[in-house]
Structure formats: structure tokens, C-alpha cells
């Protein structure tokens, strides 16, 4: 395998892992922040009056449960980055494509009342992650 291809594969693998591993914590973070911003603040207060360990269990349980879905989303995001990251403009377009992809997935799997709020969160998460990895990806592998 050519060194350039090997470099790209390693880079893609790393980004895939990063996406998969940080998707859930980012989701919780963004959801909590948006909940607060939208006046809800309900995300954490749902656990009011319950032992802190239940909230932690829901957090870690959510992490484990989200991994298969996170892997799917990470795969699509990595593929899009691979295909469209030659220029900054196409990178941004790939972000848009990923958002549309998520929109379709969640509209088909969630009731509208929930997708309505979830999509906002997911697009925000996605944007955050793209910002994090986009810069790294733009640096070319040297063959």
C-alpha cells in the first residue's frame, strides 16, 4: 500500500473513532446547553430528587447504547470528509450533506415533536465536530 493511501486510511480511521467516541458526550453537552438556552433546563432537572448515581448510569448507559448509531453516523461523516474535503467549500458542503442525512434518518425514526428538537441538537453537535476535525483533515497527508 502506498504511503499516501496508508496515511489517509489511518487518518480516516482516527476520525471515525473520534466521531464515534465523542458523539454521545457532545450530544448530552449540546442538548443540556440548548435546553437551558431554550428556557427548558429540564434535561438535568429530570433527575431532581433522584440519586446522582441514576443520572450517571443514564449517562454511561446512553454512551454504550449510542455506540452502534454513533458508528453509523461516524461512518457517513468520515466518508463525506474523505470525498469532499479537498477544498474548504466542499468540506462545508459535506457538513450540510451530513445534516440532511441526519434529518432524513431522524424524521423516519422519531415522532415529529421529538425530531423537531433532536435535529437541532444533532446538527449543532455535527457542526461542532466538523469544526474540530475539519482543520485536522484539511492538512494533507504527505506521500
Amino acid at each position: 500500500m502506498k504511503p499516501l493511501m496508508r496515511c489517509r486510511l489511518i487518518r480516516a480511521g482516527l476520525i471515525f473513532l473520534l466521531f464515534m467516541l465523542v458523539l454521545w458526550p457532545s450530544f448530552v453537552l449540546v442538548s443540556t446547553a440548548m435546553g437551558y438556552w431554550l428556557g427548558d433546563g429540564i434535561v438535568v432537572s429530570r433527575y431532581t430528587g433522584e440519586p446522582r448515581r441514576l443520572m450517571l448510569a443514564a449517562l454511561t448507559g446512553g454512551y454504550a447504547a449510542s455506540l452502534p448509531q454513533a458508528a453509523g453516523i461516524a461512518l457517513v461523516a468520515t466518508g463525506l470528509l474523505w470525498l469532499f474535503s479537498h477544498r474548504f467549500v466542499t468540506l462545508m458542503l459535506s457538513g450540510l450533506a451530513a445534516a440532511v442525512f441526519l434529518l432524513l434518518v431522524y424524521l423516519f425514526t422519531l415522532p415529529f415533536s421529538l425530531a423537531n428538537s433532536l435535529i437541532l441538537i444533532l446538527v449543532a453537535v455535527e457542526f461542532l465536530l466538523l469544526l474540530m476535525v475539519g482543520g485536522y483533515w484539511m492538512r494533507r497527508c504527505r506521500g
Binding site: G41, R46, A65, P111, F112
Partner: protein, 488 residues
């Protein structure tokens, strides 16, 4: 001819089934009372007696287990505030730290038809026998009115606090059911004690894992979650102050409250002419201005079955139009919370209430400390002049009160420190009432938030949940939607 024979046999078989069914009935079991004399408040007795009376009127004869059973020793305590006009002994009780105890009285319970004590080692075999006596077609209704103990671990480790300070956990109760109840007999329950939510684990085949619904179905209602104390259990006998789950739940089923007052709204939501258990629960959620965050088994099931990410999502969208959405709207209107800015308003009010609560609590602690200081000052001065007051169970003490009681009373009445003590002690009791009112207001807002979430969860269930989850939920709702007077 052959056809006629078949028809005759079919008719006979139908009659036999009908006769068999008419023997079967909903069999209520009432368990209640305190775990010791000091924890056996008069309200528990009055609650249980009222439920017993309602069930009797509904044509069912409940089996009752209460505190020490038929032991004539006192097992109920009542509290009536004592007036300062009641003489020197009450004034001395204030000074020497027996202010609360001065209003307490004790007596034996006045319930009729009590089958036995709730003491664990005596109750358990009797429960086993009772459950074993039930047959296919019977339906078991368990109502518990008493105290509960929390769990530091699993939800099904919360327990009933039974007479003799004994315990029976939700998991152990399920073991008794599994070992002695005919698997064809469904169970409905109403648990009103602190931490009662742990008893919702009874709906599962295995209370520990919480996987798979028990067969036949078990469903019911609890006053609280597994983690919170419930309202009620006051020793007061002021009937107008009843605010526990039983009070509202059975009032809805009865059509009027315990005082004979009309209900605040018609609980019969589906308009079929009778109020079922679920409708009574929804009525309680709407109208109980108490500290309880009550829940039904179907609600708990729904909360346990939502996708993992739904716990972490806020719902800024429109309120779905389902039973919890409608209930949220009605409660919001009652609490004067605008729907369009509900989240913001609720959050602001909660912040304000929590802040007021903290401030009042701090003032109460200061008042308590001041009362203790004054008590030391006044009692010290009294003991200096009347040393016999230090030994209240002696003949010398009785002689002192008989001879110099009026003198001591006059001295206290003239003492500025004593008057300040009375003020501080009375203020402390007022703080308790005000703090309870704030806790109740906070609970209403927490309830509103919870109902709103349930509305979105139910929307998810109706729209996107797997068939087995939807079916499980519907079966529990069906089990809960049974009127009290139903017999098979």
C-alpha cells in the same frame, strides 16, 4: 336431536362457567398503621378506616391487617395543640422541652374487622395463606397505608415499615406473591407510603432486572417515586388537612371527598359513567396540592422504555395532544402558568421558591436556636428557686405544683424571657407550615414538568415505539382502567 343435545351441553357449560365466575371477585387487602406507637399517626387509621368503609359500600369486604392487630394496648397516637390557657403544666412543658409531647394522646385503634397484626413474622404466613386461598378468576387489590423505608441500592429494596419496627421489601413481597398466589390471579395495588415507587417493580416478572411484564398482569399506583418521601402521616386529626394520595384517589372513586364535599372536577374523563382507577389517579395528579409526585405503573413502564437519548432531550416543541398533554394544560391553567412560555416561567418560579425555602429554613433554625437559648435561661432561673422541678416523677414535684403552682404560673406570665420563648416556639411551628406550603408549591411545578415529559413520551410511544412496548403499555393501562366496584 343430536343438535339439541349439543345445545343443551353448551348451555350447561356456559351456566357452569357463569356460576364459577360469579364466585370469583375482586378481593381487597388493606394493610396499614405505623411501625411503632410514635409512628402510628391518627391520620393513617382514619385513612384506612375510610377506605375500608368505601370498599364495604362497593360490595367488597376487605381483609384488614393493622398495627398490633387485636392487642388492646395503645397503637395510635394523636396530636392536638394544647392552649396556653391550660395551666402551669403546659407552661412547664414549654420550658422543660416537652412542648410537642404535651399535645400527644394515645389509644387503641378503632377499626373493625381487623384480621391481625402487620408484624412481619406474623403477617407473612397470613399473607401466604390469604394469597393461596385465591383462585383463578379472582382479582387481588392491595392497599397499603403506612410508612415506608428507603433503599440505598436497588428500587425493589424499598420496604414497608411494619409493626414492631419490622420490614418487608418490594422484592420480598414479590417473592411471597410468586410463591403463594395462583399465577392466574392478577394484582392491582395502591401504595401510599414514602419511597413507594419501588413497589412498581412488582409489575415485572423479575423485580430486580425489570425485564418483561409479570403474567398475569400486575399494575397499580404509588404516591411517590422510590427516592422521595410522601405527604401525609401527620399526627393531626384535623380532617380538613388531609393531603395524602389516598385522600384524593379514593375521593375520586367515591364521587365526593372524605368530608362529603363535591369533587373539584368530574374525574370520569371518558364519560362512561364510572370512574376507574386510572381516572382517579389522573384526578389526583391534577388536584392534589401536596408534596407528592405520584405515578402509575403504566407511567413508570413508559419512562423505563423510552429510548436512551430521550432522557437527555429537552422538548421545546408544541405539547402533544394526548392524556398527559391535556393534563399538563389543565394543571398549567390551575397554576397560572402560560403554556407558550411554560418552561421559562416554571424555571423562574422554581428558582424563587427554592430561594424562599432556603431563607425560611435559615430563619427557622435561628428561631429554634433562640428558643433553646431562652429555654435554658428560663428553666435555669426556675430550677434555682424551685429545685424540685428537676424531678417530675416524684412526690415532691406533685407537692410543689399543688402548693405553689399558681405562684410559678404567675411568675412565668410576668417573665419577659418566657413570653419571648412562647413567641419563638409558636413561630417555629408556623415556619413548619410555611415550609410545607413551599414544598407543595415546588412539587406542583415539578409535577407539571414531569407530566409535560410524559406527554412527549406518550407521543413517541403512539408514533414510533416497537409493537411489544406499545402492547405492554396498553395492557397496563387496561389493567389500571378498572372501576373499584368491579367484580367478575
Amino acid at each position: 336431536m343430536k343438535e339439541r343435545k349439543i345445545q343443551a351441553w353448551t348451555l350447561t357449560a356456559c351456566l357452569l362457567v357463569a356460576i364459577g365466575k360469579s364466585d370469583a371477585a375482586q378481593r381487597p387487602l388493606l394493610i396499614g398503621g405505623g411501625y411503632e406507637l410514635a409512628g402510628s399517626q391518627g391520620q393513617i387509621e382514619l385513612n384506612l378506616g375510610w377506605v375500608q368503609q368505601l370498599l364495604n359500600e362497593a360490595g367488597q369486604s376487605p381483609t384488614v391487617f393493622y398495627t398490633d392487630g387485636d392487642d388492646p394496648a395503645p397503637d395510635v397516637f394523636l396530636y392536638q395543640p394544647v392552649s396556653d390557657q391550660d395551666g402551669v403544666s403546659h407552661k412547664l412543658a414549654r420550658v422543660f422541652g416537652e412542648f410537642e409531647a404535651d399535645g400527644e394522646t394515645f389509644r387503641n385503634h378503632r377499626l373493625e374487622g381487623v384480621s391481625g397484626t402487620t408484624q412481619r413474622d406474623v403477617l407473612e404466613p397470613q399473607l401466604r395463606d390469604y394469597f393461596a386461598s385465591m383462585q383463578a378468576g379472582d382479582e387481588l387489590l392491595v392497599v397499603y397505608n403506612g410508612h415506608g423505608a428507603p433503599s440505598v441500592g436497588r428500587e425493589d429494596e424499598v420496604s414497608l415499615k411494619l409493626w414492631g419496627d419490622t420490614r418487608l421489601s418490594a422484592g420480598e413481597f414479590q417473592d411471597i406473591l410468586d410463591e403463594s398466589l395462583d399465577p392466574a390471579v392478577p394484582l392491582r395495588y395502591v401504595f401510599t407510603q414514602c419511597y413507594s415507587g419501588g413497589f412498581h417493580r412488582l409489575i415485572y416478572e423479575n423485580s430486580e432486572s425489570g425485564l418483561g411484564l409479570a403474567e398475569p398482569l400486575r399494575c397499580g399506583f404509588t404516591a411517590e417515586s422510590p427516592w422521595r418521601q410522601s405527604e401525609g402521616c401527620s399526627a393531626s386529626i384535623d380532617m380538613g388537612d388531609y393531603r395524602d394520595y389516598t385522600t384524593f384517589f379514593f375521593a375520586a372513586l367515591n364521587g365526593e371527598d372524605r368530608l362529603g364535599e363535591p369533587l373539584k372536577s368530574d374525574p370520569d374523563l371518558n364519560g362512561d359513567g364510572q370512574t376507574d382507577l386510572l381516572e382517579a389517579h389522573l384526578y389526583t395528579l391534577e388536584h392534589a396540592h401536596s408534596t407528592d409526585l405520584s405515578r402509575s405503573s403504566s407511567e413508570v413502564f413508559l419512562e423505563n422504555r423510552i429510548p436512551y437519548y430521550m432522557s437527555w432531550v429537552s422538548f421545546p416543541g408544541h405539547l402533544p395532544d394526548n392524556r398527559y398533554g391535556q393534563l399538563t394544560q389543565r394543571l398549567a391553567a390551575r397554576l397560572d402558568v402560560p403554556l407558550e412560555s411554560m418552561n421559562r416561567v416554571v424555571r423562574e418560579r422554581l428558582r424563587e421558591l427554592h430561594s424562599r425555602y432556603a431563607q425560611l429554613r435559615s430563619e427557622q433554625l435561628s428561631t429554634r436556636e433562640e428558643a433553646q437559648r431562652l429555654r435554658r435561661v428560663v428553666s435555669g432561673a426556675l430550677l434555682k428557686d424551685y429545685p424540685k422541678l428537676a424531678a417530675p416523677y416524684t412526690a415532691g414535684y406533685r407537692e410543689l405544683l399543688a402548693g405553689q403552682g399558681s405562684e410559678i404560673q404567675a411568675r412565668l406570665d410576668a417573665d419577659a424571657d418566657y413570653r419571648a420563648l412562647v413567641e419563638a416556639q409558636d413561630a417555629e411551628a408556623v415556619f413548619d407550615r410555611r415550609l410545607l406550603d413551599i414544598e407543595r408549591d415546588i412539587a406542583q411545578l415539578d409535577k407539571l414538568k414531569r407530566l409535560r415529559r410524559l406527554a412527549f413520551y406518550l407521543d413517541w410511544l403512539n408514533d414510533k415505539a416497537d409493537a411489544d412496548v406499545r402492547q405492554g403499555y396498553e395492557r397496563l393501562v387496561g389493567c389500571e382502567s378498572v372501576p373499584l366496584s368491579r367484580t367478575n
